[in-house]
């Protein structure tokens, strides 16, 4: 039932979010997150970014994250889409939408999936800036965010 896609094509985040509850009357809450490519990072103009991934492992990790979220919370549906390849500022990189009966589960599961995706899923970003191309470094705050979900 969950939708998981890794794709080079752009996606319409509004349409994807609306689709999760279309023709259903049992969903009370949809929490969603869209991560977008920005035109600025660490003070430099970013003209584009290239997202590399590890085909095979990526699919496995994302499916595992969604399964883990479904085992922790009572979810009615999950959509997870991640782009790879070359993206321009303003493009949606990732979408996570979680449907549930009540909002608490939907919010928690959505944030959990994003936190784990950020630290576990084998994607890497390379930014093209005015000073040349550079690989984005992992942020310590992402490890901190993911650590919230362990041992609770």
């Amino acid at each position: 039932m969950p939708t998981i896609r890794i794709q080079t094509e752009a996606f319409d985040s509004g349409a994807e979010m609306a689709a999760i509850s279309r023709n259903r009357t049992d969903i009370g809450a949809v929490a969603s997150f869209v991560g977008l490519a920005r035109d600025m990072n660490h003070g430099d103009d970013v003209r584009a970014m290239v997202l590399e991934h590890y085909p095979g492992m990526t699919e496995k990790v994302l499916a595992g994250l969604v399964d883990e979220a479904r085992s922790r919370w009572a979810l009615l549906d999950v959509t997870l889409i991640h782009r790879v390849g070359r993206l321009l500022p303003g493009d949606a990189i990732v979408l996570v939408a979680v449907a549930s009966t009540h909002r608490g589960e939907a919010f928690s599961a959505c944030e959990f999936i994003m936190d784990y995706l950020k630290t576990q899923a084998p994607f890497w970003k390379k930014e093209e800036t005015e000073h040349g191309a550079r690989w984005v470094e992992a942020r310590a705050s992402d490890d901190t965010a993911a650590a919230r979900w362990t041992g609770s």
């Binding site: 496995k60 991640h82 990189i93 994003m114 995706l117 899923a121 994607f123 890497w124 690989w135």
Partner: protein, 83 residues
């Protein structure tokens, strides 16, 4: 044993290759890292102790003491930055 090694992102670029097949006489991921580091140059630099990189065996993230097995797919890559 024979291993298939994959490199991604910055490591792929620095090592100048995405994939290689390797004859390996050690037993753990740490042994493999030591063998690669012994090549010197960018290998010694990028895989130095204290540098942040990750190892996956057969597409699962593992700790450095994980045992490697015949024909394993071992991937070495920087901390991930997707999303």
């Amino acid at each position: 044993m024979t291993l298939r090694i994959l490199y991604f992102a910055r490591l792929r670029e620095r090592f100048g290759q995405h994939e290689e097949t390797l004859d390996f006489a050690g037993s753990t991921a740490a042994d493999l890292i030591a063998q690669l580091r012994a090549r010197g140059g960018v290998w010694a630099e990028e895989l130095a102790a204290g540098r942040a990189f990750r190892v996956a065996v057969n597409q699962n993230l593992v700790a450095f003491d994980a045992a490697l097995t015949e024909n394993a797919e071992v991937a070495i890559f920087p901390p991930v930055t997707g999303g």
